[in-house]
């Protein structure tokens, strides 16, 4: 409760939370407000915004409802961003914990693998992965997570290295706890706060990467995505710039919202930590 109160003390955090709330509502409301296929033709092609009450944001080149696409696109962006980030954080935390807790050879091997992944630009990695395996939602999520888990892994390892020297870990060994249980039940949860602090950056980057993949035509073809919408609009950029601008603004606002809200959380927990 107090933490929530503290979170809402900075204007940035409030703005971020509002944007995110709006986004979540859009994603949840999409199938209710726009039932049916958002990719179906809804009216005349290239209708400008604010021309027709039932198509407030107009239509695209094929006559699809831009507002419906925007709402359904929010679903994809959010789903991919959150799942990919969650997968990256999970993998990173587990790898980092194992490396830091086990030390020695296991640490060495895991960290060399982490290094290898980190030297390849994450977007190229995602691009290559999707081109090889083929575009589908699951593959896109995996591709994005593949390039994003190294940061959490490093942070988790550093934290675990300091936690494993604490008395309570020695205490857990003394009562005969299994090393895996110590690593994942005693150490990992206490190493999480700094790892979770990375989540806003990772979610934002995942959403951008997903958009970029879709823009290049490597997104899931059966789903509406903002990146795909921007790419679609690009062909008629001169005559109908709104087709690229609308999803572009949505993308920028989303990334900003995620980032601001994430900073708010970090800030409020940081105060808590310095207090305790």
């Amino acid at each position: 409760m107090k933490r929530l109160h503290r979170f809402f003390q900075t204007p940035e955090a409030i703005a971020g939370a509002l944007i995110l709330a709006l986004l979540v509502i859009m994603a949840l409301a999409a199938p209710l407000l726009f039932p049916g296929d958002p990719q179906a033709i809804a009216g005349p092609a290239l209708l400008s915004p604010f021309q027709h009450w039932s198509l407030p944001l107009g239509t695209d080149r094929l006559g699809r409802d831009v507002l419906a696409e925007l709402f359904h696109g929010a679903r994809t962006s959010l789903a991919v961003g959150l799942t990919a980030a969650a997968a990256a954080l999970l993998v990173g935390a587990v790898v980092g914990t194992m490396a830091g807790f086990a030390g020695g050879l296991i640490d060495e091997v895991l960290m060399r693998i982490t290094d290898a992944f980190q030297t390849v630009p994450s977007f190229l990695l995602a691009l290559a992965f999707v081109s090889i395996v083929g575009p589908s939602l699951g593959v896109v999520i995996a591709a994005i997570a593949l390039g994003a888990w190294t940061g959490p892994a490093r942070v988790a390892r550093a934290e675990v290295l300091s936690i494993r020297e604490r008395d309570y870990v020695a205490g857990a060994r003394v009562i005969g706890m299994h090393p895996l249980e110590i690593a994942f039940r005693e150490v990992l949860p206490n190493a999480l706060p700094p790892v979770l602090a990375l989540s806003s950056v990772i979610v934002a980057a995942a959403i951008l990467t997903e958009a970029a993949l879709s823009f290049l035509g490597l997104g899931d073809p059966n789903r509406v995505t903002w990146g795909g919408m921007i790419a679609e609009g690009r062909t008629v950029l001169r005559t109908a710039p709104f087709l690229s601008i609308v999803p572009g603004i949505a993308l920028v606002l989303t990334v900003l919202g995620v980032y601001l809200a994430g900073e708010g959380v970090v800030e409020s927990t940081a105060v808590r930590r310095s207090l305790s």
């Binding site: 020695a170 205490g171 857990a172 003394v174 009562i175 005969g176 706890m177 299994h178 949860p189 206490n190």
Partner: protein, 259 residues
């Protein structure tokens, strides 16, 4: 019969590139229901010996016999099972527990790990353990940071006795406590010793406390045993230089004796 026999134990660290011996050729024995005190100035190797005896650290040389078997030969599951008999209480009772845990979980872990009680039986055992160390069973639901330092140290003792050990290592276990609380904890330890025949490796740099509870003493200096023997005899007339210095440095209350 001895519970713990340590012989020629050594542990070296590197300091500024040069190796130095934190523990150097140390030997001692502890019998059942006996308290052996380890005393010495800061850095003399007391905590290192404690950690070696518990296999939290591996020695460079030496032997450790625990309950008649080679303790250093154990590993993996066999070592973990054996740990039930050899427990530890730390100096800082807050640092000794997972900051997220509650009292019940702290006591549940050893019971579960060593299969001492079935899941349904455990809450009763936990309540009994809490009562054994003089705490209210209602404390079980509290978070570890919601109880006082003295209560925490009692919980630490309850955890240590949960698996019915034959030896508990107490590394400065009463040094951070207020004097009034300290007295109660020492009484509790002695009481447990008499009833359950638990031996203690009692680490402290306070000779007053050692004299109150220990049977024998080993005085360390720079990782080596400087002298050892009956606690009261050694403290009354120390032979080694470090022993004399420790005794001389212990603050005294110069009260006029009332008959």
């Amino acid at each position: 019969m001895t519970v713990l026999a340590v012989s020629n134990l050594s542990k070296r660290y590197r300091r500024g590139g040069k190796p130095f011996a934190a523990v150097d050729d140390v030997s001692f024995e502890i019998g059942p229901a006996e308290t052996l005190a380890l005393a010495g100035p800061s850095g003399s190797g007391k905590s290192t010996i404690a950690r070696l005896a518990l296999r939290l650290l591996e020695p460079d040389a030496g032997r450790i016999q625990f309950e008649g078997a080679d303790f250093l030969a154990l590993s993996g599951a066999a070592l973990r099972a054996r740990r039930a008999r050899l427990q530890m209480v730390f100096q800082d009772p807050l640092a000794a527990f997972n900051p997220r845990s509650i009292v019940a979980r702290v006591l549940d872990d050893p019971l579960r790990i060593h299969g001492i009680a079935s899941r349904s039986e455990r809450p009763r055992r936990i309540a009994a353990l809490l009562e054994r160390v003089g705490l209210d069973a209602g404390l079980a639901a509290r978070a570890i940071h919601e109880i006082s330092g003295g209560q925490r140290q009692r919980v630490a003792i309850a955890r240590a006795i949960a698996t019915r050990p034959s030896l508990i290592v107490l590394d400065e276990a009463v040094s951070a406590l207020d004097v009034s609380v300290r007295g109660q904890i020492l009484e509790l330890l002695l009481d447990l010793q008499r009833q359950e025949r638990i031996a203690y490796l009692f680490i402290s740099h306070d000779l007053g406390v050692i004299r109150a509870v220990a049977h024998r003493i080993v005085i360390l200096d720079a990782g080596r045993v400087a002298e050892s023997g009956d606690a009261r005899t050694v403290i009354a007339s120390p032979q080694s230089a470090i022993g004399k210095a420790l005794v001389a440095a212990t603050p005294r209350l110069n009260r006029i004796k009332t008959p």
